[in-house]
């Protein structure tokens, strides 16, 4: 059923006229031309499609756009301010906390939300907070270190 959905996307007012049952992931990737959120599993098990809705990490592959009414959506494309990377992005980049990079947008947004709620997390709090985000290359060690380093700067 077609609906009019108004929300903020990376700080900009956005209006969609579309079937509200469509998933946020494919609407982002198709209609909104933002491909930073990745398809990984389609059942909210891997975290590659993670974006922030009102500050909370959601698995966009199972998130119907009808729920976005008046929401604030942040994707990886909206994290840097102009050319200035967010400290999390800087730490991921400088510490090599990625390899293939496919899970990276989801990892960074998951970590962003985690640090919003807990500014000085312990290693084990980071580890359990990130446990739903999968990485196959085995960059986990550096991802934890990057999040710790970013937390120290925020």
């Amino acid at each position: 059923m077609r609906e009019t959905i108004r929300f903020r996307l990376n700080g900009r007012d956005t209006t969609l006229e579309t079937d509200g049952t469509r998933s946020l992931l494919w609407v982002l990737r198709t209609d909104l031309e933002l491909t930073g959120a990745k398809y990984g599993c389609g059942i909210a098990e891997c975290g590659a499609c993670t974006v922030l809705v009102n500050g909370d990490p959601v698995r966009s592959c199972l998130y119907p756009v009808s729920q976005l009414q008046d929401a604030d959506v942040i994707t990886i494309e909206g994290l840097a301010q102009d050319d200035d990377l967010h400290p999390l992005q800087e730490e991921f980049a400088e510490r090599g906390a990625f390899q293939c990079g496919y899970c990276t947008p989801g990892m960074i947004l998951e970590a962003y939300s985690l640090l919003t709620k807990n500014q000085r997390p312990t290693r084990s709090e980071i580890s359990s907070g990130m446990d739903g985000n999968l990485c196959r290359c085995g960059a986990h060690k550096r991802i934890l270190e990057a999040i710790e380093a970013a937390a120290a700067r925020l």
Binding site: T35, I43, Q99, R136
Partner: protein, 702 residues
């Protein structure tokens, strides 16, 4: 050097002349390159015509064309380092062009830890040649002999004299193609200033901002996204299909041609729904084998063995032993489970098709697509964007054939991105395999007998490694054994073979009552092997104790892709549940000259983390051709909560050219964890992955 001689290679099949704009392009053929021969012997099937292409643009920027691809291993950066070193330009001025079949030299594929080890020498020689061409041009320009010239950061200047000219100035207005048949002199390893350092990865900014493009991120006007009808099980055949309901969905295109049944729509989710509207019936064969009976099947199906290594006499060896032990080791099917599923976008224009593919083998895909469409390979261009993980799984790319066929039929750009279900179903798994070892020691704890049989894992990693006077290594293989496709999986076969070998070594050490590290050192003279064992022992503060010591410490070592590795693991085992938690992993690796130490370290960390999966939790369950694990809800891979402390040591060896780094540190993980589990609780596991149940069972038997 043949001045202005457009030798045959300069315009060979890659059509190097197509470059627009000015600049100096150098194509290199290494005909008698002795530095490559050993590597080529090691790897059958690698192209014999190593080529490397380099272009210096009028702006002074250097483009390096490589058939290798970037899938996370950092090869983009390390290749640029090798190029910058030989060209003597700054790393910042190098642009890599990777995996484009129209532009790059032919390459068999990015696998086998071969980029640095095998393509590296060709790339370096190509860049050294380009440097010599530029020096000759500078000599003419400056009126100074080449041996009186020096070059630094792309600026050629006369030694102790007047006159300087930049690469950019030399390239201006030029359109020179040169071919060299001789070897240019490579920079001596001890003089290297770019190789051996750890610059930040080229792909870092794109990958943290979401700008990095993967095959699924490429969009073309009028592009359709396809979903394809799949059988419920491998070996099933389609008996009837009804697409009428799918055809009734507005905007959906249905293709039903030569066994390819697909629905296409601009919106992926409409295609998903339309696929569900297809009525289809399949003939499904009765399952004959499953994940519990597979090993008996494998041993029965692969009776014929080929002896790879033989020394002494097995009977004599058995006679010299006071303790002989015979064990069988089992390994299951393991999925690649890359985060990015197999993806391809195909676009047809006239009689040419261009594809963007998530592939480890762009040239292989080019040939396969050409055959599928019955056109010439020159009509097919494969472009490789960033690849979201490979590990061997993206050597095979049926999604590219599917996208090409659908684009050819519909005459519209078509993207095929496999679902996770398709990804698991069509994966070319790490092969299930069996290793049987009979071995023994004399009263002094010297290994006298090694009778080794591997079924369906091949001989990679099956070297004896230790000094055994009486040994045979026999590999049993046959075709058609597996109920579905198998293929190379990071360190193919070696994970299985080394699990067998290093477990068996530990069992003998325990039989002899000798500390497992000391047992290894006393049976090994290979200096590179000893150096990594000693390095890892030092880093881990190893203290000698026969296993099981209750400490949960294990050791294992191996050789892969020319690189030696040794590991120490520390685990805790919950004795009531059999649950294994890996606390600490220490790894020492000797890989010759290290091109990028931080990049090599990342690969070691990645190998160790990924290896926890095949050792402790990953295997595909199946019933006949039906795959029972099709997503991450039941197929578990390593997560943050599994992560141990990881320490890595690179053991220096400046005498040896750079060796492989993408796989070696994974091949011992099963073995070192099995040995650590035994040391913790006395439970010896013989099957990977070692589940809590099997660890517990081993405790009661132990």
């Amino acid at each position: 050097m043949n001045r202005n001689d457009l030798g045959p290679m300069a315009v060979d099949r890659r059509d190097f002349l197509k470059f627009t704009g000015g600049g100096i392009a150098v194509a290199v053929t290494l005909k008698d390159a002795s530095l490559l021969s050993e590597a080529m012997e090691q790897q059958r099937g690698y192209p014999t015509d190593f080529n490397a292409y380099v272009r210096v643009g009028e702006d002074g920027r250097v483009s390096v064309f490589s058939g290798k691809i970037e899938m996370g291993q950092g090869g983009e950066t390390s290749q640029a380092q090798m190029a910058a070193e030989e060209l003597r330009v700054s790393l910042d001025s190098v642009d890599m062009v990777l995996g484009d079949t129209d532009l790059c030299p032919r390459d068999s594929g990015t696998w086998g830890s071969m980029t640095t080890r095998m393509f590296g020498p060709a790339l370096r020689a190509g860049c050294a040649t380009a440097r010599e061409v530029l020096l000759e041009l500078a000599a003419e320009r400056l009126g100074v002999a080449t041996d009186k010239l020096q070059v630094e950061n792309g600026v050629v200047s006369a030694v102790g004299g007047e006159g300087r000219v930049t690469y950019a100035e030399l390239a201006k207005g030029q359109r020179i193609e040169r071919t060299l048949d001789r070897e240019a002199v490579l920079q001596a390893l001890e003089d290297c200033t770019v190789m051996g350092t750890s610059p930040k990865r080229f792909d870092r900014r794109e990958k943290v901002t979401g700008k990095a493009q993967y095959a699924g991120d490429i969009r073309l006007p009028d592009m359709l996204r396809a979903r394809i009808l799949r059988p419920p099980s491998h070996g099933a055949t389609l008996t009837s299909v009804d697409t009428s309901a799918a055809e009734a969905v507005p905007g959906v295109t249905v293709v039903n041609q030569d066994g390819l049944v697909a629905v296409l729509h601009e919106d992926r989710e409409v295609a998903d729904r339309a696929l569900g509207l297809i009525g289809a019936e399949f003939d499904v064969p009765e399952p004959t084998v499953n994940d519990r009976t597979i090993w008996d099947h494998i041993v029965a199906a692969a009776p014929v063995g080929r002896t790879g290594h033989e020394a002494g006499n097995l009977d004599a060896g058995a006679g010299a032993c006071t303790k002989i032990t015979e064990n069988t080791y089992y390994d299951g099917y393991v999925a690649h489970a890359t985060m990015e599923p197999h993806t391809a976008l195909a676009s047809v224009e006239d009689d040419r098709v261009t594809l963007w593919v998530s592939t480890q083998s762009p040239f292989g895909d080019q040939g396969r697509v050409a055959r599928a469409l019955e056109i010439d390979p020159s009509q097919v261009r494969v472009i490789t964007p960033y690849v979201g993980g490979g590990f061997g799984g993206k050597a095979s790319n049926n999604q590219a054939l599917e996208a090409a066929r659908l684009a050819w039929i519909t005459r519209r750009p078509v993207q095929v991105m496999w679902t996770r279900d398709e990804e698991f179903f069509y994966d070319t798994y790490h092969s299930a395999a069996v290793v049987k070892i009979r071995s023994g020691i004399d009263p002094e704890g010297r290994i006298q007998l090694w009778d080794y049989h591997v079924y369906m894992a091949g001989t990679r990693g099956a070297e004896v490694m230790y000094d055994v006077p009486n040994a045979a290594v026999v590999s049993h293989s046959a075709r058609g054994v597996h109920p579905f496709a198998t293929g190379a999986w990071r360190g193919p076969g070696a994970n299985t073979n080394i699990f067998g070998r290093e477990s068996q070594i530990d069992i003998m050490a325990a039989d002899a009552g000798i500390d497992p590290l000391e047992f290894r050192l006393s049976n090994a003279t290979d200096p590179r092997l000893r150096s990594v064992l000693e390095a890892v022992a030092k880093a881990a503060n190893w203290t000698a104790a026969p296993a099981p010591s209750g400490r949960g410490l294990g050791v294992a070592c191996g050789l892969d892709a020319g690189t030696y590795v040794a590991h120490v693991a520390e685990v805790t085992v919950d004795e009531s549940t059999g649950e294994v938690q890996v606390e600490r992993m220490v790894c020492a690796q000797e890989m010759g000259v290290v091109v990028n130490p931080d990049g090599a370290t990342m690969q070691m960390e990645g190998c160790i983390t990924m290896g926890l999966g095949y050792a402790l939790m990953e295997h595909i369950r199946f019933q006949g051709g039906d795959i029972l694990d099709r997503n991450f809800d039941t197929y578990r891979i390593p997560r943050f909560s599994h992560l141990p402390e990881i320490e890595t040591v690179l053991v220096e060896n400046r005498e040896m050219a750079p060796q492989g780094g993408g796989e070696p540190a994974i091949v011992c993980i099963g073995a070192v964890l099995a040995n650590a589990v035994y040391d913790a609780c006395g439970s010896r596991v013989f099957t990977m992955p070692f589940t809590p149940e099997s660890v517990r069972r081993g405790m009661t038997m132990g």
